[in-house]
């Protein structure tokens, strides 16, 4: 077993070394810049988008189906809305979806995994078998089913994706807890008379934060991708919400002629997912942890 304090920790002394390693890896830096760029675009969307009103229900029939031009760099759609503006506003939806889905997944999964790993016995059996059941269903299929049952809209698609996502965090937290539990300081705390809840939350949990951060950053891209898939299949955000998956789905009927309708939202998804993946890989080296 690896010793926690040798591998897992980025403390004052090691932080500059880890930072150096991070900055020496061009891919991590590219990932970080892509993510920062998307976050920036999402925050300042109303100021960046050339036609902010096009993100909603605006209609300009005289401009419909225009190919990319200086006036509309990504072209216009079937009612004349600027695709660039819609893609820019779409970044808000996708990032929000990713953050909310993963927050729910972490908030449900981590406490369950911690509980199962630390307390063991019947608690462990119930929680982990439940987790196994969830993991045995392909997550997209599960999300589709939940979303269809709840009624397709953005909020329900987030609930649906979280529903299929938390078991991964339960499993991660469970595995980490089993590993950390073997460290002597947990036994030391027990022999000192420290309560088990305190040990679980204040002694074990902090030792898995780096693994969690890495997993979350890697998963953000996938969560966004899943959200877009639901949108594409008509079970996520509904038009006129400028969600990327929904945009691709709407543009699909006009392919290949009006290629810009689907291509640019697709590129936006590609860039965002790539950014999170590269960043996640970089963070994994930074924290020097193994996730799965």
């Amino acid at each position: 077993m690896k010793n926690l304090s040798q591998t897992k920790n980025v403390h004052k002394g090691n932080i500059s070394r880890a930072l150096y390693r991070f900055t020496k890896s061009p891919l991590s830096l590219i990932g970080l810049s892509l993510v920062l760029m998307m976050v920036f675009i999402a925050i300042f969307a109303p100021f960046i988008a050339p036609y902010p009103e096009d993100a909603k229900n605006a209609v300009h029939f005289k401009d419909m189906f225009q190919p990319p031009s200086l006036k509309h760099p990504f072209g216009t759609d079937e009612v004349g809305r600027d695709v660039l503006s819609r893609v820019i506003f779409g970044s808000r939806i996708s990032l929000m979806l990713g953050v909310i889905v993963l927050s729910i997944a972490v908030l449900i999964g981590v406490p369950l995994g911690l509980l199962a790993g630390y307390f063991g016995g019947i608690v462990e059996t119930i929680i982990m078998r439940l987790t196994d059941i969830f993991l045995s269903i392909p997550s997209l299929v599960l999300a589709l089913a939940v979303s269809a049952a709840l009624g397709p809209n953005l909020r329900n698609s987030m609930i649906a994706i979280s529903f299929s996502w938390w078991p991964w965090y339960a499993r991660l937290a469970y595995g980490e807890t089993l590993k950390i539990k073997e460290e002597e300081f947990v036994e030391a705390d027990e022999s000192l008379g420290v309560s088990r809840i305190y040990i679980a939350l204040r002694e074990i949990l902090p030792n898995m934060t780096s693994s969690l951060i890495v997993k979350v950053s890697l998963d953000l891209g996938y969560a966004i991708l899943t959200g877009a898939s639901l949108g594409f299949l008509g079970l996520g955000a509904q038009p006129p919400t400028p969600e990327w998956g929904t945009l691709i789905s709407l543009g699909r009927t006009h392919l290949p002629g009006m290629w810009w309708l689907s291509t640019f939202p697709g590129l936006a998804i590609f860039v965002t997912v790539l950014g999170f993946n590269l960043l996640g890989d970089g963070l994994r080296d930074f924290f020097d942890v193994e996730v799965e």
């Binding site: 304090s5 920790n9 002394g13 002597e184 036994e187 030391a188 027990e190 022999s191 008379g193």
Partner: protein
Amino acid sequence: MNDLILRAEGIYKYFFDSHYGKKTVIKAVNGVDVGVRRRETLAIVGESGSGKTTLGKVLMRIYEPTEGKIWFEGNEISTVNGSKLKAYRKYMQMVFQDPTSSLNPRKRIFDIISLPLKAHFNMSKRERLQRVRELLNKVDLPEDFIYRYPNALSGGQKQRVGIARALALNPKLIVLDEPTSALDVSVQAKILTLLTQLKEQFDLTYIFISHDLSVVKNISDKIVVMYLGYIMESASTEEIFNNPYHPYTKALLSAIPTVTDEERKIIPEEITLQGDIPSPSHIPQGCPFYSRCQERMDICKIKRPRILQIKEGHYVRCFLYDRNGGK
């Protein structure tokens, strides 16, 4: 009898493991009786796998014994739980083998040492700071270590922090689980000296677990030699070194490196133990030590010897000294 601070009778500790439906029982401790007098140091000695650490953790009630009873100052603690057990934690503390693993790498030294204070007393942060400084002084560490992380400390320093943490609650008894085995030889001596000083200063009682008789020689009053969860021999330190009876004890003694002639007089001729200690999940039917014993007899394979007092305070589990035991 009444100055025994800790007494344990008939301690068994089994671990049950089920792997792919195949159940195994690991018999780590098999019917051990021990008693420690106040202000005494009892050493528990044996190879790895002899159950000595498990015994220490059972006595500390980190593990619950499968069977047997433990008394601390006359009160039975073998089955207490919850707040009652927590009350006893104040009097009994443990120092762990691996100083790195026994300190949470995410916590500063202050948080580590003050955790027991936080768990047991309603002390303000200022009072705790004061107390932690005091404790660091006691273990000869500079006060400004309180804001460091364990990573910034050497092995010896970490072990001193572990000792400071064990002292925080003013315990009466400390179980030392191979406190020096992970340290360099030069550091080992310093830690042992510190432990001796602290014992004087705070009237402590020690249970010192070690695989190395030479470490134990100068610090312990009484030695218990364990093998596969059984006590093979127990006597005063002097007796064990001058009059060892059990072939296993002799083998352990012969493994101590000698330098001077005087030392060579005490240490018996070299006996090399063949093979490894058997697995505690498959303890041999007869004498646990049969497979490696130099002086084994036929009976040792069939029957398990009993532990017998052959002198005042000297107990041995061996048929060589128990001719009637086989009948």
